[in-house]
Amino acid sequence: MTMTPRIAGTLVSLGLVALAIFAAIMGAGYGVIDDDGRVAGGFLPFATAVVVAVTGLLDARGRLKGGDEEEEGPRGPTTAVDIFGRDQKTRNRQLVKVLILIFGALLLVNVLGFLFAFAALIIAVSFFVEKKKILPTLAITAGTILVTWLVFDQFLQVPLPLGIFGG
């Protein structure tokens, strides 16, 4: 079953409402007004969280009612086939794969080091998700990683995580 953009948008708004209610409760716990009647540390978190919760509910209601059709759905040619012949379903699958690969690369940063983890990410995305040829992919990855190492490690002296290669 596929979720319509209207329902998905409503769920995002409701998710923000839930987050805001949690933040409002915590914000109230920090103290909203102090003994002198002045605002305390919890005032702004509480006030903004309440506003997010109320406007989020209004937004969710508006989306469910389909108030402004033009605003509801995702932008752009969501059902069309793009210049590479990929339809919306394929692109959705690509999106999920890329998200999983990024998550994996971030987990690998402390294991393989920053540059190797991201080299693996670039190769995986270009070759497996985007179906690019392996040789140009490897060449672009090697070039990019080399430039990144020169700029960040050598020029800016950023201490990049080295993982198991750190000794």
Binding site: P5, A8, G9, V12, M26, G27, Y30, D36, R38, A40, G41, G42, F43, L44, P45, T48, V51, V52, T55, L58, D59, G62, G67, D68, E71, E72, P74, R75, G76, A80, V81, D82, I83, Q88, R91, N92, Q94, L95, V98, I102, L106, V109, N110, F118, L121, I122, V125, S126, E130, K131, K132, T137, T144, T148, V151, F152, F155, L156, V158, P161
Partner: protein, 494 residues
């Protein structure tokens, strides 16, 4: 003022600053035309690279990226009807139609010429108005600052796109996120859940990189690629009649852009949309707008550039950003240890005037680059996105990491990237969110001070004349659009 100008030229015309200005506008143009990048993303990603530079040089380069991206955004608007920047959205209406009619080059050329003229006009106005404005703002107490920040937030909520409720939600969410950690004036750490990385708050650069860079990449993957229209060098020639037709639209666009750009929170998007709307009303060819009319490109492009420059008035003089990119630039100021606001003009005249003069130099570079090289830049649209976005991912994550040298930053980018994707996908306006995140700490400080001055009561904002005027303007900003939309819907019903 002449002394200040001389000081500005002395600062901006050093070999190093000229070189970084050129690099900034060139990178900005490229960033503006590449899908998945924009001026806000570009500035956010490249801040770490500027840490090794002098603050004035770094700001000259970052500002160059900002207005360079406006030019680049136009190229994608015209050639693939996919604006690289929000202010270029309206340009796509007539610009893309011109391209389909074989006038892509003329559309790009008039955008470059219009933007250049607008930049020069707005710079002259900026130099004339910013210093007295800053002197006037020196009288502002925390009460006025609180009112003006509220005003800025309300403007961006009203005109940031989407409904008022959605804008208010996003601005509040931004402020809420900014309250994480220990705040100035309060002892308790908030929303840290025992994580020491959160004690100093959620850093805005990571939020911006996540929302704009990663969020946009994910959004583009879902959108799919569009074939660009080829722009040839010989098509760049504008006819005499096209130039004549564009003259007044450029002037009108510049005026509208400057006026709206000076408002805190208004940004270039509002300016370009309003300039297009007004031009459609006053132009002889107004009824044909949307079919490829050059006035429909000249006016919003001029407005967009004028507003980009005028945005620096509230940013430099008040410390309140004009739009999303100036909000990120404002954050960059603080990274370099500078505090934008009225005192900046007195304390750092070389920096302020060097920066302002660099806009002029940068726009000259851009005209030289864009008039003959627009077709060359357009070739970059042919770089397969499948190769491009993994590189954007690497740049984004390493940029975020290098600010704090902490892997926590890259997880923040991931979380805000997913959030940014959802926001873009389901049309939550991003400008109010960004302004909320950036203004949040300043807003909270001003609010706490106002509460202390008023001994717990906020009625003090109505007791001071300047603050009262700002509060009335803020109220009007909320009430008038609501009334107008009610009247319109009633008229529709009749």
């Amino acid at each position: 003022m002449l002394d200040n100008l001389v000081l500005g030229f002395q600062t901006a015309l050093t070999v190093e600053n000229l070189m970084w200005c050129f690099i900034g506008v060139l990178l900005g143009t490229i960033i503006g035309l590449l899908p998945g990048l924009g001026s806000t993303t570009g500035v956010a990603i490249l801040i770490p690279l500027t840490l090794a530079l002098e603050p004035v040089t770094a700001l000259i380069m970052l500002a160059g990226i900002y207005y360079g991206a406006q030019y680049g955004g136009t190229i994608t608007s015209v050639l693939i009807s996919t604006p690289g920047e929000a202010p270029s959205v309206i340009t796509a209406l007539d610009g893309y139609q011109m391209a389909r009619n074989g006038r892509a080059g003329a559309a790009l050329a008039i955008a470059a010429i219009g933007s250049f003229i607008a930049a020069i006009i707005s710079l002259a106005l900026l130099m004339a108005f910013a210093p007295p404005f800053a002197r006037w703002a020196l009288n502002f107490s925390p009460v006025e600052n609180f009112s003006i920040m509220l005003f800025g937030l309300v403007i961006v909520i009203t005109f940031g796109g989407g409904s008022f409720a959605r804008g208010l939600m996003m601005a509040s969410l931004g402020v809420l996120i900014s309250t994480v950690g220990v705040s100035v004036g309060f002892i308790d750490a908030r929303f840290t859940f025992g994580n020491v990385n959160l004690l100093s708050g959620i850093p805005f650069v990571e939020v911006m990189i996540g929302v704009f860079a990663l969020g946009e990449v994910l959004h583009q993957i879902r959108q799919g690629a569009v074939a660009p229209i080829r722009a040839r060098f010989k098509d760049l020639m504008i006819t005499k009649s096209e130039l004549k037709r564009s003259f007044f639209p450029i002037l009108r666009g510049s005026g509208i852009g400057f006026a709206l750009g000076t408002l805190p929170g208004a940004g270039s998007t509002l300016a370009s949309f309003m300039a297009y709307g007004i031009e459609r009303k006053v132009s002889k060819n107004g009824s044909k707008f949307g079919t490829g009319q050059i006035e429909g490109v000249a006016s919003p492009e001029s407005a967009n550039n004028a507003a980009a420059n005028a945005n620096f008035i509230p940013t430099l003089a008040l410390g309140i950003p004009g739009g999303a990119t100036t909000a990120v630039l404002l954050g960059a100021f603080t990274i370099y240890g500078l505090q934008p606001g009225p005192l900046l003009f007195e304390k750092q005249p070389a920096l302020v005037w060097g920066l302002l003069v660099s806009f002029f130099i940068g726009n000259v570079f851009l005209l030289i680059l864009n008039l003959p090289l627009a077709p060359v830049f357009a070739q970059m649209l042919r770089v397969p996105y499948g190769y491009l976005y993994p590189l954007i991912l690497l740049t984004s994550f390493i940029g975020a990491y290098s600010i704090s040298n902490n892997t926590f930053s890259i997880w923040l980018v991931f979380v805000f990237g997913v959030l940014g994707y959802l926001f873009k996908e389901y049309n939550y306006p991003l400008a109010p969110f960004v302004l909320g995140v950036v203004l949040g700490p300043l807003f909270e400080k001003a609010m706490a001070q106002t509460s202390a001055i008023g001994e717990g009561s906020f009625m003090i904002v109505l007791e001071r004349p300047i603050s009262l005027v700002i509060v009335i303007m803020t109220a009007l900003m909320v009430v008038v659009p609501l009334l107008v939309s009610k009247i319109r819907s009633r008229q529709k019903a009749i």
